[in-house]
């Protein structure tokens, strides 16, 4: 973001001209949007979708869009954890000495990376999701829960009645992202010098031991920034599951627009919400990179 150099760069006339041109262009677009679109802007309606006052208790509670944001965060965190696990396994498969494992890893990564996520989500949700859900008995599990358990679990997974869908979306998202993580893991392991392998082998370590004690600690350090970046992608990609009606931020926004016809205000707000969320994550990633490189 901000380079802390000893010298401050000088501002030249060219910089001023470019900035003025940019500001002017941006201002013109905004002006056209505000006046030329034939759209009745009503920004005063919007705050209640972020925070509203509960009429019963008088306390502020999260509005519709903030609830959607919570679902987005839940989805991203769980998908992040799941895809991390699967991605690391698949990444190790890709560099495994066993041909079979290498092939499995290659086919998985090849399949997922060459299909559009939207299509993948539809196929998974309508064809494969059901099979897995009934195998796991998720529906039974949810309906058999006591109210107390539902309350607790809903903190982690959102409304439990929709848990089977949530799980479908979660698995699809995790499957999709894990392919990218597998590639990051593979690149990280391959970036460790061959001398390290040889050195650990000469100490009499097995392959597993050398991976665990020598290679992975070094590789993980190199992978961290890329993995963190991939997590930000997960947040952005989570918007895709709105097509199977998971009530995350994008879906809630669409529902609101259908009800209130306030498309522009709501899309603008949603854009800002996503940006704030991912930007905070970017800052955290930057901190992480600095800490790792120290």
């Amino acid at each position: 973001m901000f380079l802390t150099t000893s010298k401050r760069p000088k501002t030249t006339l060219l910089d001023v001209v470019i900035l003025a041109a940019l500001a002017g262009g941006f201002g013109y677009i905004l002006f056209k949007a505000a006046t030329g679109l034939n759209y009745h802007w009503k920004w005063d309606l919007i705050p209640q979708f972020l925070v509203r006052i509960d009429p019963k208790t008088g306390f502020p509670v999260p509005g519709l869009l903030v609830q959607g944001l919570f679902t987005t965060i839940r989805l991203s965190v769980w998908a992040g954890i799941l895809s991390m696990g699967l991605g690391i396994v698949m990444g190790l498969f890709r560099v495994s000495p066993s041909l079979f494992k290498r092939q499995v890893g290659m086919v998985y990564v090849g399949l997922i990376r060459n299909t559009p996520p939207l299509v993948l989500i539809f196929v998974f949700y309508f064809f494969i999701g059901d099979q897995i859900m009934s195998l796991l008995g998720v529906d039974h599990f949810v309906y058999a829960l006591s109210d107390g358990a539902k309350e607790v679990l809903s903190w982690f997974f959102g409304p439990m009645n929709r848990f089977p869908r949530f799980l479908s979306a979660l698995i699809t998202l995790a499957l999709f992202e894990a392919a990218y993580i597998a590639e990051i893991v593979r690149a990280g392991i391959e970036s460790v010098e061959p001398g390290q392998w040889e050195a650990s082998a000469s100490l009499g370590m097995t392959r597993i031991q050398s991976l665990r004690l020598v290679i992975l600690p070094q590789a993980l350090q190199r992978m961290l920034p890329a993995l963190a970046g991939q997590f930000i992608s997960i947040i952005k990609d989570s918007a895709i599951v709105s097509v199977i009606s998971i009530e995350e931020l994008t879906f809630q926004a669409q529902q609101l627009m259908t009800t209130t016809y306030r498309s522009f205000e709501i899309w603008t707000l949603v854009l800002v919400m996503y940006f704030v969320l991912t930007f905070l994550c970017s800052l955290a990633v930057r901190k992480l990179e600095l800490a790792v490189n120290r």
Partner: protein, 287 residues
């Protein structure tokens, strides 16, 4: 190396194909009798009714359509269909669970058992009826046009919109889209996923008109009176709206049919219809 790769890929395709094959089976079975996996019960007579009663919850699929179903400021669902669903669940003696689903995928979602019934202002069409069973109609909705004053200011009949210089925006998968295809075969149609997008196109003067079920055109022409107008004084079609359920379950269908008869005879449906479609008392609940 190459043969191995081919083998692995072939194996994977076989796996995928078998997974798809297996998943086809339940939906076929479901057509014949209820599928325990989807309904969460293995009931005696095999009707969806028993499954719902045993579960104590009826799962209702719908999509947001103003004023059929909307979210109010508190995040609760309100609207005509929502009231109908609540009343139906009450008469059945079960809880109701609302499953909001995108309209374009709502029938596949019903067929794959994501919910038990569609209560969402779904019009009966022969094509839909091939895939799902419809109950008796419990309301009728009319199709109408709302047009841009600037682009179509002098048109007052459906024929005047039926030419190649006219562009119409409609919502994908709705009977409005069907009606536009049938009544306006020469016009260019633009399909959108959400109602709000069609309205935006009209506001931006990229289309001459939007075809949708009333009262949307009526409400729009009131809200944007200086930009929009209603070219037709009457709705150009009247469509029966009914509950949609999976095929092969006569018991459930029979119950629904009679529920419609009884509730109609009490006048409750008509009363609620008037409230949601012709009054604006509820507007304050959503904005």
């Amino acid at each position: 190396m190459k043969t191995f790769r081919l083998q692995a890929i072939a194996l994977l395709f076989i796996l995928l194909a078998s997974a798809l094959g297996c998943s086809q089976q339940p939906s076929q079975q479901k057509a014949g009798k209820d599928n325990p996996a989807a309904t969460g019960t293995a009931s005696g007579s095999g009707s969806q009714l028993d499954a719902i009663l045993e579960r104590g919850v009826i799962r209702v699929g719908f999509d947001t359509f103003k004023p059929w179903a909307m979210k109010d400021k508190n995040g609760e669902y309100i609207g005509f269909e929502i009231e109908v669903a609540r009343r139906l669940a009450e008469d059945m003696g079960v809880e109701v669970e609302f499953v909001p689903t995108k309209w374009s995928g709502i029938i596949p979602a019903l067929l794959t058992g994501k919910f038990d019934i569609i209560i969402g202002g779904m019009s009966i069409t022969p094509q839909r009826n091939l895939k799902v069973n419809f109950s008796q109609p419990y309301e009728y909705s009319g199709m109408s046009i709302v047009a841009s004053r600037k682009l179509a200011g002098d048109r007052s009949s459906i024929e005047q919109f039926n030419n190649s210089d006219t562009t119409i925006a409609v919502r994908l998968g709705t009977t409005a889209a069907e009606a536009a295809k049938n009544f306006l075969p020469k016009a260019n149609l633009l399909f959108f996923d959400e109602e709000s997008q069609t309205i935006q196109e009209l506001l931006n003067e990229r289309v001459q008109a939007v075809v949708a079920s009333n009262p949307l055109p009526l409400n729009l022409s009131e809200e944007y009176a200086d930009q929009f107008y209603l070219p037709l004084s009457e709705d150009f079609s009247r469509e029966p709206i009914a509950f949609a359920v999976r095929k092969g379950d006569l018991d459930f269908l029979n119950w629904l049919d009679n529920w419609v008869r009884v509730t109609m005879s009490k006048g409750w449906l008509q009363n609620r219809y008037e409230y949601w479609f012709f009054s604006h008392e509820w507007e304050s609940q959503i904005q």
